[in-house]
C-alpha cells in the first residue's frame, strides 16, 4: 500500500512516500521519521511527488515532525505535493506552516538559505 524510500544527500536526508498515507500506513512513516530524528537528522526533505492520498493521520505525522525539528532548530521541507493534496494543505492552512517546495531540487534551496 505504501512504500518509503530513504536517500542520503550529504547531510540532508530525504524520504519519498509512494502510495497512500492513511490510518493503516502512517505508523511506518512515523517510525521511519522518528528513527531519522533520533540518529541526528536535522535537515529533512519529505518527497510527496508519488503520494496519492493523505489522511488526517498522515498530516499529524508531518506536524509532529515539524514540531520536533523546530524545537531542535532543524529544517523540514515538504515537496512535490500533487494537486488534491496541495488542496488539503491549503484548506488546512498547512501551506503557511510548512516549508513547501515543488520538487526535491527546489527543496534543497531551503537548506542553502538556512545554513552558511
Amino acid at each position: 500500500m505504501m512504500q518509503l524510500i530513504t536517500s542520503d544527500l550529504n547531510k540532508i536526508k530525504s524520504v519519498a512516500i509512494l502510495g497512500r498515507l492513511d490510518t493503516t500506513t502512517y505508523p511506518s512513516l512515523e517510525e521511519c521519521l522518528n528513527q531519522l530524528f533520533a540518529t541526528g537528522t536535522r535537515q529533512l526533505v519529505i518527497d510527496c511527488s508519488q503520494m496519492d492520498y493523505v489522511s488526517s493521520s498522515g498530516l499529524r505525522v508531518f506536524l509532529m515532525m515539524l514540531k520536533k525539528m523546530k524545537s531542535e532548530n532543524g529544517t523540514l521541507v515538504i515537496c512535490g505535493l500533487q494537486a488534491p493534496i496541495h488542496n488539503v494543505f491549503e484548506i488546512s492552512g498547512f501551506l503557511s506552516i510548512f516549508n513547501i517546495a515543488p520538487d526535491v531540487e527546489k527543496a534543497l534551496g531551503f537548506f542553502d538559505q538556512t545554513k552558511d
Binding site: 492513511d22 490510518t23 488526517s56 498530516l59 506536524l63 509532529m64 484548506i91 488546512s92 492552512g93
Partner: protein, 645 residues
C-alpha cells in the same frame, strides 16, 4: 456388531485364501492319490493274477506232462502186463501229490480180449494211495465226457469241473490224453490216460490270495464255470454269465466273454457277495486249460489308505488353520490395539480435552509414526487455539474499543430533528455516519441567545478512541467557551489554546463554526483548516464560503484566527461537511470529489435540509458501493427560511 473389526476382516480374508488354496491342493492330491492307488493296485493285482495263473498253469502242465509221459510209455510197451501197469499208476500217483488220481481207460476189449472194461485207477485217499477198477456196467465210462470228447476230437484236453461220485467224491477236473497204437496199418486210439486234479487243491492256491479284507480271487473254466470261488455253492453250479444275468451286470458278462476267449484285462464290477463299493477285477488266462483267473479288489478298501491319509491331512490342515487364526488374531490385535488407543485418544482430544495424553508405544513402526504425528497435531492444535483465542481477544478488544469510540461520538451529537420546533424561520438537519474505525467527526448546533444560532462541524485527526475523545473534548469546549456576543474567531481561539495544552502527539481538529443572526441573516464564521462549506441561494446559485482563517485546532497555541461574514438571503442554505464526503472512496480507489458533491447539491435546488442531506449522502453511498467506508461521513445543512421578526 455392525462394524467388523480389522482383526476379523484380516482373519477372514487370510483364512479364506488359505482354506481355498488348501481345498484345491487337497482335491488335486486326492484325485492324484486315488489315481496312483488305482494304478498301483492294478499293477499289483496284475502280478497276483499272473503269478496265480503261473502256479496253476504249472500244476496243470505238470499233470499234462505226467499224462503225456505215461501215454508215450504205454505206446512203446504195447504188451505191458496188468500188474506192471497197475504198479506204475500207483507209483505215479504216490510220487505226485499235486495230482489227485490217474487212470488208464482202455477201449472195449483192448486190454483183455474177454473184458469190455479195463480202467485201472489210482488215487490219493488220505495219506495212502488207493486203487480200483472203475469200469463196469453201472459206470460205463465210454460215454463219459472225460473219455468220449478227447477220443472224438482225437486230442488231449481238460474237462469242465465236475463232481466225481465214483472214487474220490470230490470236485475235480480231468486231463484226458489219448494213447495211440497201430492196428492193421492204421493208427487207432488204444486208451485214454487221465490225470485228475483235486479242485480243492487249486482252490487252496487261489483262496490263499487275500487282498485287504474282502479282496479275493476265482478261477473259471473255458466255459465260464467257476472252478474255485469263496462261495462254495458257485463252484460248478454257476458261471460268470449266470451271475451277470442274476445280478444284472453287463460289464461282468463282457469280461466273461473276454475271459473265455483267452483275453486279459481289468473290469469294474458290482459286488455280489457283499454290499459295498465296486470291485476292480483283474483277469488273466491260463493257456494250458483255457481257464481264467480273476482277482477282485474292493475299491473302498483299495482307497482306504488314501482316505485315511486325506483324513489325516484334513485334521492337520484344520489344526494349522486354527493355529493361523490364533496367530492372525494375535497379530491383528497387536496392530489394532494401538490404533484403537489412538482412536480413543483422538475422540477424547476431539471432544475438547487437548491435555489428553496420546499413548506412547514401546515399539517403533508406522503406528508410532502416527502417534507422533498425532502428538504433533495436538501440540499444534493447542498453539493454534491459543493463537486464535489471543487473536479473538485482541479483535474483541479492538471491537469493543471501536464500539466505545462510536458510543462516545454518537452519544455527544444532537440527534433530534427537526431540532427547533419553536423557530419556524429556520430548518436544520445533520447526519454523522461513523466508519467502522471511528474517524472523530463532530457536529453541533445550539442557540446562544434567542436570535443567534451557532453551528459547527469538526474533524479530528486519527481514528478510534483517541479521536473520539478529542472530539468529545472539542464539543464540550465549544459549548463551554461560547457566550453571547462572542465572535466565532474568539470561540475558536479559545478552544485552540485549550486543545494545545499537553498535546504532544500533535492531534488536531479541523473546525468550522458559524453564528447566524436570524433577524439579519448575517453569518459570522471561522474556518480552522476545515473543508469550505457551500452556500445554496434560493435562486439556485452555488457558492463556497471562501475564507480559511488558520491551521486546525490543537497545533499552535499562538495562532490568530480571524472571522469572515456573509449575509444569507431568504431560503438560502449552508452545507457543512467533512472530508468523509469528498474523499469517500469506491473499490477502484477513486474519490467522490468536489465535482460530484457540487452536482449532487445542484440537484437539490430549494429542497429542505433533510432532502439535501439524503441526496448527498445517498449519492456518496451509491458511489462507494461495496467498498468499506473508510472515514466518518458528516453533513450538516442549515436553511434560513425567513428572517426572524
Amino acid at each position: 456388531m455392525k462394524i467388523k473389526s480389522l482383526s476379523f476382516k484380516l482373519s477372514l480374508y487370510i483364512l479364506t485364501t488359505v482354506s481355498v488354496t488348501f481345498v484345491v491342493i487337497f482335491l488335486f492330491n486326492l484325485s492324484e492319490s486315488r489315481k496312483d492307488a488305482l494304478e498301483n493296485m492294478k499293477r499289483e493285482s496284475y502280478y497276483i493274477s499272473q503269478s496265480t495263473a503261473y502256479r496253476i498253469e504249472s500244476v496243470l502242465r505238470g499233470a499234462e506232462e505226467i499224462a503225456f509221459n505215461l501215454a508215450r510209455l504205454l505206446e512203446k510197451q504195447p504188451g505191458i502186463s496188468q500188474m506192471q501197469l497197475e504198479e506204475r499208476i500207483k507209483t505215479l500217483v504216490f510220487a505226485n501229490p499235486e495230482i489227485f488220481g490217474c487212470c488208464v481207460a482202455y477201449e472195449p476189449y483192448s486190454f483183455f480180449r474177454d473184458s469190455l472194461y479195463y480202467a485201472p485207477y489210482a488215487f490219493h485217499s488220505g495219506d495212502t494211495v488207493s486203487f480200483m477198477q472203475i469200469g463196469n456196467d453201472s459206470y460205463n465210462y465210454f460215454y463219459l465226457d472225460w473219455y468220449q470228447i478227447p477220443r472224438e476230437l482225437n486230442q488231449p484236453l481238460w474237462s469242465e469241473p465236475y463232481f466225481d461220485a465214483n472214487a474220490g467224491n470230490i470236485m475235480m477236473a480231468t486231463y484226458s490224453a489219448p494213447i495211440w497204437h497201430v492196428r492193421n496199418g492204421k493208427p487207432e486210439i488204444l486208451a485214454i490216460v487221465t490225470i485228475d486234479i483235486d479242485l480243492q487243491y487249486l482252490s487252496r492256491m487261489v483262496s490263499d490270495i487275500r487282498i485287504f479284507d474282502h479282496g479275493y480271487a476265482f478261477l473259471v473254466s473255458k466255459q465260464g464255470t467257476f472252478i474255485t470261488h469263496p462261495v462254495k455253492d458257485f463252484i460248478s453250479n454257476e458261471t460268470v454269465f449266470t451271475l451277470a444275468e442274476e445280478y444284472n451286470q453287463p460289464y461282468l458278462r463282457e469280461a466273461g466273454r473276454d475271459m473265455i476267449s483267452g483275453g486279459s484285462g481289468y473290469q469294474e464290477v458290482e459286488p455280489v457277495t457283499r454290499k459295498g463299493d465296486k470291485y476292480l477285477m483283474t483277469y488273466m488266462p491260463i493257456p494250458a486249460s483255457g481257464w481264467s483267473v480273476a482277482v477282485l479288489i474292493p475299491k473302498d478298501e483299495l482307497y482306504a489308505p488314501v482316505y485315511r491319509l486325506q483324513r489325516l491331512m484334513i485334521a492337520l490342515a484344520a489344526a494349522g488353520l486354527f493355529l493361523l487364526l490364533v496367530l492372525i488374531s494375535a497379530i491383528a490385535r497387536r496392530l489394532t490395539n494401538p490404533v484403537k488407543e489412538l482412536a480413543e485418544a483422538a475422540h477424547e482430544i476431539g471432544s475438547g480435552n487437548l491435555e489428553h495424553k496420546v499413548p506412547q508405544f514401546s515399539f517403533h513402526n508406522e503406528i508410532t509414526d502416527l502417534a507422533n504425528s498425532f502428538r504433533k497435531m495436538q501440540t499444534d492444535l493447542r498453539i493454534h487455539i491459543a493463537a486464535i483465542s489471543d487473536a479473538t481477544a485482541a479483535r474483541e478488544k479492538i471491537e469493543s474499543e471501536l464500539k466505545i469510540a462510536r458510543d462516545i461520538q454518537q452519544g455527544i451529537v444532537p440527534k433530534v430533528f427537526p431540532p427547533f420546533a419553536d423557530h419556524p424561520e429556520i430548518d436544520l438537519h445533520a447526519v454523522l455516519d461513523s466508519a467502522r474505525e471511528v474517524g472523530g467527526d463532530l457536529y453541533d448546533f445550539f442557540f446562544i441567545d434567542d436570535v443567534h444560532l451557532c453551528f459547527a462541524v469538526g474533524d479530528v485527526s486519527g481514528k478510534g478512541i483517541p479521536a473520539s475523545l478529542l472530539m468529545a473534548i472539542t464539543r464540550t469546549l465549544l459549548r463551554a467557551r461560547t457566550a453571547p456576543d462572542m465572535k466565532p474567531c474568539q470561540i475558536t481561539s479559545s478552544i485552540n489554546i485549550e486543545l494545545c495544552r499537553e498535546n504532544d502527539n500533535a492531534m488536531f481538529v479541523t473546525f468550522f463554526i458559524g453564528i447566524v443572526n436570524l433577524k439579519t441573516g448575517q453569518l459570522d464564521y471561522c474556518n480552522a483548516g476545515h473543508n469550505r462549506p457551500w452556500m445554496l441561494d434560493s435562486n439556485g446559485a452555488i457558492s463556497q464560503l471562501p475564507q480559511t482563517h488558520g491551521t486546525p485546532l490543537g497545533l499552535f497555541d499562538d495562532m490568530k484566527y480571524g472571522c469572515s461574514s456573509v449575509v444569507l438571503g431568504k431560503g438560502s442554505s449552508v452545507v457543512l461537511y467533512t472530508d468523509g464526503v469528498t474523499e469517500a472512496m469506491n473499490s477502484q480507489g477513486e474519490l467522490f470529489g468536489d465535482e460530484q458533491l457540487i452536482e449532487a447539491l445542484r440537484a437539490c435546488n430549494g429542497a429542505p435540509p433533510k432532502q439535501i442531506i439524503s441526496e448527498v449522502y445517498g449519492q456518496t453511498k451509491k458511489f462507494v458501493g461495496i467498498a468499506p467506508q473508510s472515514d466518518d461521513i458528516t453533513l450538516l445543512v442549515f436553511q434560513l427560511l425567513d428572517y426572524k421578526k
